[in-house]
């Protein structure tokens, strides 16, 4: 059982912000993989980019994400009144009597907004989820996917990406989960997106700033 955060070695390897050149190269790689990319300089610009992308009145599910909380996107989605946020709606529903409605709503929102745990220089995106509920919409359920990614999440390849996930993100998330929910986390489901095949469906807002885990 992990009781501490990541090791010093993991922190040193996985918390460093990528260079501007690396981010530009990454943006090109993602573009070749079918992902629309918006390269911005700060969390504030990322928040503006999300606001520009989300249509007013859109049905939006904001994944649990430190990145989205830190830059204010979670608040924009849930509290601005501009969108139809699904989290408050799901929270009010009765799991037993409305379980099917909840699954349908959560699995196929018009828009899902979130982040990733790692992105390789070759343009592959890695995400993990303890319950798995956040992964399905990103893969195919949601109509549109918007991922805000801090520049410290860039890794050389998939092997490094998986290590970032297990050695850096998971310890941080495990600590957070115990504090927030009283239960540990788990790398129970892992998603790797190598290519986005539906044109225009997936957008990454790549930020030249360390955001989130």
């Amino acid at each position: 059982m992990i009781t501490e955060g990541p090791s010093k070695k993991a922190i040193a390897e996985f918390s460093e912000l990528a260079s501007e050149q690396q981010l530009r190269s990454l943006a090109e790689a993602l573009g070749r993989n079918g992902v629309n990319v918006s390269l911005v300089g700060s969390g504030e610009e990322a928040r503006d980019a999300v606001r520009s992308a989300l249509p007013i009145g859109a049905e939006v599910y904001n994944n649990t994400s430190r990145t989205l909380e830190v830059i204010g996107v979670a608040e924009d989605v849930e509290r601005s009144g501009l969108y139809q946020p699904l989290r408050p709606r799901l929270y009010q529903m009765d799991r037993e009597m409305q379980g099917r409605e909840m699954r349908q709503l959560a699995a196929s929102p018009d828009w899902v907004v979130g982040s990733v745990h790692a992105v390789t220089e070759g343009g592959s995106l890695l995400l993990a989820s303890a319950s798995g509920s956040q992964l399905g919409p990103i893969v195919s359920g949601a109509g549109h996917v918007l991922l805000v990614v801090g520049g410290q999440k860039v890794v050389p390849d998939l092997e490094a990406g998986m290590r970032r996930l297990y050695e850096y993100c998971f310890p941080l998330e495990d600590l957070r989960a115990k504090q927030a929910y009283g239960v540990p986390s788990g790398v129970n489901n892992v998603l790797i997106i190598n290519k986005a095949v539906a044109p225009g469906r997936m957008t990454v807002v790549l930020v030249n700033q360390s955001l989130g885990f």
């Binding site: 994400s65 989290r87 709606r89 929270y91 009765d94 009597m97 409305q98 239960v183 885990f213």
Partner: protein, 425 residues
């Protein structure tokens, strides 16, 4: 990005409400927030630990219920109107005149809002509590067309509200109609906060208030163990409790199903000799299958026992008297039509107070004495030209969600006829 997303709770701060359980004001706010889908945390005023976390030095009982809004602003004593305003739910009418004002955003009103706005009419709906009306609190409507797995009333209301807004209908929340006057061929609706809404036609779809149960001392306990209707806000608080529900209709049946999942025991008290005449069969079948539910027919509440909160009810049943320890009593015994706000225009009502429309107006001899037009009233039109009624408030209506939706939709076609008449076409 986080790896746990089990409960999908909102990540932004929510409303915190501090009060005493046996408080009608606290119940009103909880009910309002629940029905409007606003997540909140309820904190009992005597939960010293949590109160100290929120308010250093404790709280002044005179300020209860206290509300902490997501912005951090604190309201005390909080009211429904204050909380609604603080949450940004109280908007002003965008237009100086509308084609159609809809009083009530239950199924009939929401259907009218959708059709009116989608057909280009400038439409505004006025709702005192929450979109969805009585149907909005139903845990599962299983026989509404197009939903083979059923749909909750809340979800139906949420979708209908989004649909109405998408077409451009406005919905003015947390205010009720207090007066209605004629303004030439149109109307001016006066709302409880002083807002005035002008329109060329008007649809009354304000439904019914729960009929009061006339038992000595019972209505003094409103919010303190006695509730009219069975709103979702109290379900979780009835964990392990003894719950009694009075009524024989679908609302009572839905309430039984909802509360049976939390309460230790639910007793359904029905005045009639059976449920067959008043409750849909699928609900009767479900209710009968639930293990912690007892159905008592030919039974009535005749007395209550309470201190600051309800403790027991006394039930008369086929000549015998029983005392039932009861923590919460939900009364669902039908409705009294909400026509008070429109009283001054002289609506023709039936003997039970429901609004007469269309052919029903020919029944009492004097209903059309002041009818000014050469044509007869349109179906759903009242004895006042351009003023329509739909849903439960209407005399002779079928008290079902689908019927109300149908009438609200139908009313818009009639509104078009009226508007054409006003334009001299």
């Amino acid at each position: 990005m986080s790896m746990i997303d089990y409960d999908a709770r909102p990540v932004t701060p929510q409303v915190v409400l501090v009060g005493q359980r046996a408080s009608a004001a606290g119940y009103s706010i909880r009910d309002f927030l629940s029905r409007n889908g606003v997540p909140y945390e309820w904190v009992e005023a005597d939960d010293a630990g949590r109160v100290e976390q929120l308010f250093t030095g404790g709280v002044d009982p005179a300020q209860l219920p206290l509300c902490i809004l997501p912005s951090g602003e604190r309201l005390g004593p909080a009211t429904v109107e204050g909380v609604a305003t603080g949450l940004g739910m109280v908007s002003v009418p965008r237009l100086s005149e509308y084609d159609l004002t809809i009083v009530g955003a239950g199924p009939a009103g929401l259907a009218a809002a959708v059709y009116a706005a989608s057909e280009g009419l400038r439409a505004v709906a006025i709702e005192s509590l929450a979109p969805g009306g009585q149907a909005g609190t139903t845990s599962m409507i299983e026989n509404y067309l197009g939903f083979p797995q059923g749909i909750s009333g809340g979800e139906l209301a949420t979708r209908a509200t989004a649909q109405a807004r998408r077409f451009g209908a406005e919905i003015l929340l947390a205010r009720r109609l207090v007066d209605l006057t004629k303004d030439g061929p149109g109307y001016v609706a006066q709302l409880s906060d002083g807002t005035q809404v002008r329109s060329r036609s008007l649809l009354l779809a304000s439904g019914v208030d729960w009929r009061r149960l006339e038992v000595p001392g019972l209505n003094d306990l409103l919010g303190s163990g006695v509730y009219y209707g069975a709103g979702p806000s109290e379900a979780v608080t009835c964990n392990g409790c003894q719950v009694a529900i009075v009524g024989g209709g679908n609302s009572a049946g839905q309430a039984v199903i909802r509360f049976s999942r939390y309460a230790a025991r639910v007793t359904l008290l029905v005045r009639g000799s059976s449920l067959d005449a008043s409750m849909s069969q699928y609900l009767i079948d479900q209710v009968r299958r639930i293990g912690n539910v007892e159905i008592r027919t030919s039974s009535e509440v005749v007395d209550v026992e309470a201190d600051a909160h309800l403790r027991a009810i006394v039930v008369a049943s086929r000549g015998s008297i029983d005392r039932l320890p009861t923590d919460a009593l939900f009364v669902c015994i039908g409705g009294v039509p909400r026509t008070k706000g429109a009283a001054s225009v002289g609506l023709a009502l039936d003997a039970a107070g429901y609004v007469r429309t269309g052919a029903e107006l020919s029944v009492p001899a004097d209903a059309l004495d002041r009818w000014p037009l050469s044509r007869q009233p349109l179906p759903l039109e009242t004895n006042v030209p351009g003023l329509f009624a739909a849903g439960d408030i209407r005399s002779g209506s079928i008290k079902r969600c689908a019927a109300a939706i149908g009438e609200g939709s139908m009313a818009v076609a009639l509104v078009h006829q009226r508007l054409a008449e006003l334009s001299g076409e």
